[in-house]
């Protein structure tokens, strides 16, 4: 423990002897703690990933093993080939989830940005009222709309139709709020110049604001994609036929069907986690600004 700090000590001439050793010791401890926390936070995924390769017996054996005895790749194939009949297959669920997530995220980008532009840059009567109405609507707990939305969807014949998630998901108060704040932070000079040239609000929105707002739009896209991908209660209520289910709902059925076959359920869980994790590592900057901005994920 003493060798490393002393080596570093030589580089820091001018600092009182004795103090740097403690200082570097503290630094090493700090890094160790950080790595340990990171490891703990990832433990569930590591163990679950290793679990996907274990046999039916090994997965529930006690004491539990760390590495699988034999790497059973068949579990992944078996899960991928799951077929519960009536069109309910694993690739189908994956497609449903991806399709819904992309559609909802694209619509959110379009509709939230138009509304946010109106709030941030246009002067019209009733603006404050509508904006406050929006803020108030964010306070409404989702539990209250659960039953009546289900009734409305069933009246409209949208149960087991993707529209039941796409239409209400096409726009969100949180997304509008975040983009409004972002648009307000942009400098006004560019659009004022465009106004001088006789551009309309529609042109300014399209040609000036949208290109400037690309990072914020990407943030909205990613957060909404993740929100839809991870949502559970709404798809559980609205999409219950085998061929319309999303991965999350299918997973809950998996667990009930396979019971003790945790290896297969875990494959499904890891499958579900991978796309979001990849997206996160690619765009972590946007994720983090988005969450920090609004305090809401998805």
């Amino acid at each position: 423990m003493t060798a490393i700090p002393q080596k570093l000590d030589l580089k820091n001439i001018g600092i009182k002897p004795g103090k740097p050793v403690l200082f570097y010791f503290g630094l090493v401890i700090r890094y160790l703690v950080l790595f340990a926390i990171g490891l703990i936070l990832f433990t569930p995924f590591i163990l679950a990933f290793l679990g996907t390769f274990k046999t039916d017996a090994e997965i529930i054996a006690y004491p539990p093993s760390f590495l699988p005895q034999n790497w059973l790749w068949e579990n992944w194939v078996k899960t991928w080939e799951t077929d519960i009949g009536r069109g309910g297959t694993f690739p189908r669920w994956l497609f449903n989830t991806a399709f819904l997530s992309v559609t909802v995220a694209v619509l959110q980008v379009i509709f939230c940005s138009t509304a946010a532009y109106a709030f941030a840059r246009m002067k019209f009567p009733g603006k404050n009222f509508v904006f406050n109405f929006m803020l108030a609507s964010m306070m409404i707990p989702g539990a209250v709309t659960l039953i009546p939305s289900y009734v409305l969807m069933s009246k409209l014949g949208l149960i087991n139709s993707f529209f039941s998630l796409i239409i209400p998901g096409a726009v969100s108060a949180g997304g509008i709020f975040m983009l409004t704040q972002f648009f307000k932070s942009l400098p006004k000079e560019l659009e004022e110049a465009a106004f001088m040239d006789g551009a309309s609000h529609l042109q300014i929105y399209k040609d000036v604001m949208l290109p400037l707002a690309r990072p914020a739009l990407l943030t909205i896209f990613i957060l909404q994609f993740q929100g839809m991908w991870n949502s559970f209660l709404a798809p559980l209520l609205y999409l219950n036929s085998a061929d319309k289910m999303v991965l999350n709902v299918a997973l809950s059925i998996f667990q009930q069907t396979y019971k003790a076959q945790w290896n297969l359920t875990l494959v499904g869980a890891i499958f579900n986690a991978i796309p979001v994790l990849i997206l996160f590592f690619l765009f972590s900057k946007y994720y983090i600004t988005g969450v920090a901005y609004t305090g809401v994920k998805g």
């Binding site: 630094l27 700090r30 950080l34 926390i37 936070l41 990832f42 569930p44 529930i60 006690y62 004491p63 539990p64 509304a115 109106a118 019209f124 009567p125 509508v130 609507s137 409404i140 707990p141 539990a143 209250v144 709309t145 659960l146 039953i147 009546p148 289900y150 009734v151 409209l156 014949g157 239409i167 209400p168 726009v171 509008i176 609000h201 991870n230 949502s231 559970f232 209660l233 209520l237 997973l251 667990q255 945790w262 359920t265 875990l266 869980a269 579900n272 986690a273 979001v276 994790l277 997206l279 996160f280 972590s284 994720y287 983090i288 600004t289 969450v291 920090a292 901005y293 305090g295 994920k297």
Partner: protein, 415 residues
């Protein structure tokens, strides 16, 4: 002068009238969509059969809505009347409402409309297949019957459960989040790296995390293994626990350890069950990193000269944290606590997947009950009752977050 005013005058009157009609009709269409009638195939066969049904059962509901729609329509038409003569303002207003239209229409249908419907049916007996029957406050009374009749205690017990849940989860996750943020915010290399790594587990869905933890919590799972190994070092024997199926409460365990006993009739003294605490732990695990991100962003906004000044005055790092960081974070702490309250009082996913409300109802939650009543998973479909439960929960959420706001904001005057 008069020549110009005259046609403009008629134009703006027409505009005002048309805007009134548009708003009124739009609101009434939304109301009809959300009218409290029975659903089912025979009624929903065509728009005629549906409208006939609306006429039969929902006229009082529509009447009340119509009064509101008239008032809103009047306000809007007055707005149009005033803005109309000025061309620039008129164009801007029309375009702005055009931009807002998707949001406004979707919210009016899927938030406001459905809430009005839910409010109405919370006073009725309603299962989508028959007409709602007015029962007054019976549903609300029934919700609290658990106080007198222990066999009907589901809702009261669910409130008791989420109360424990938020009392334990919110302080723990908030302080852990601040701790993590302080660790990452220190002057270290790879700050971005740690931030990303810490947050990554939180981006996956609660379903994935719950399934993985259900496997950990098995009697033969890693959690029992960990306990038996760690306690084994100190030679303490460990008997494997069925984590998600153990109804023993925290207080009950303590009392039993001292030789006491809490009978099941006094379930409300037992405290949160082992199963419920297992779910709490899992929830903290995923939400603490999320809130860490929020705190981290806020900490980076704190003016560094504050710390420099404090350092010159000889304040230690610890003092700087308590005297500068924490007070400056106060508004963010409020936000995180409020968000945490809204989230924890509405737990659902974990309960649905891991415990279905059991064992002995110790993991029932109001949202899970609402879901169960709406789909009739236990007994008949009781949507009116479910809606009443949701409203009671909403009132509780509003009052608690309001009190938190008052309580936390009161302290900020010092700074």
């Amino acid at each position: 002068m008069k020549k110009i005013v005259e046609p403009a005058q008629t134009q703006r009157t027409i505009a005002a009238f048309l805007s009134f009609l548009l708003v009124f009709i739009l609101l009434m269409v939304i109301a009809v969509m959300n009218a409290p009638t029975m659903g089912g195939h025979s009624v929903m066969a065509s728009s005629q059969t549906y409208l006939a049904e609306v006429k039969r059962t929902a006229l009082p509901f529509l009447g009340v809505i119509a009064i509101g729609a008239l008032a809103i329509g009047f306000v809007v038409s007055r707005m149009f009347y005033q803005v109309w003569p000025n061309k620039k303002n008129r164009v801007t207003m029309l375009m702005a409402y055009g931009f807002l239209a998707p949001y406004l229409i979707i919210t009016l249908i899927f938030t406001i409309g459905v809430i009005l419907f839910a409010f109405y049916i919370s006073f009725t007996d309603y299962d989508i297949f028959t007409s709602p029957v007015w029962v007054g406050l019976a549903n609300y009374q029934k919700a609290f019957q658990g106080f007198v009749d222990p066999t009907q205690r589901d809702f009261v017990q669910s409130l008791y459960n989420v109360a424990w849940y938020s009392l334990i989860v919110i302080p723990v996750q908030t302080s852990l989040a601040i701790l993590l943020a302080v660790l990452v915010n220190a002057p270290i290399r790879m700050k971005q790296f740690f931030r990303t790594v810490f947050y990554a587990p939180s981006v996956t869905s609660s379903v994935v995390i719950t399934l993985i933890f259900m496997w950990f919590y098995l009697k033969t799972g890693y959690v029992n293994y960990l306990f038996s190994n760690v306690l084994g070092i100190f030679n303490i024997p460990w008997e494997n626990v069925l984590w998600l199926g153990d109804p023993r409460g925290l207080i009950q365990l303590i009392v039993t350890a001292f030789g006491g006993n809490i009978p099941s009739a006094q379930w409300f003294f037992r405290g949160p069950s082992i199963a419920w605490m297992a779910i709490m732990f899992q929830n903290i695990f995923t939400t603490a990193p999320t809130f860490m991100i929020i705190f981290l962003a806020a900490m980076q906004d704190i003016n560094p000269t504050l710390y420099e000044a404090a350092a010159i005055d000889g304040a230690s790092k610890r003092q700087q944290f308590w005297k500068i960081t924490l007070p400056m974070l106060r508004p963010i702490i409020l936000m995180v606590v409020v968000l945490g309250t809204i989230g924890t009082l509405q737990v659902f996913d974990q309960v649905y997947l891991a415990t279905s409300g059991g064992p002995l109802g110790t993991s029932l939650t109001p949202v899970y009950l609402t879901f169960r009543e709406a789909l009739g998973q236990q007994g008949p479909i009781r949507m009116g009752y479910g809606a009443a439960l949701a409203f009671i929960l909403a009132i509780i959420i509003f009052s608690v977050t309001y009190l938190q706001r008052r309580f936390i904001e009161r302290g900020t005057e010092h700074y």
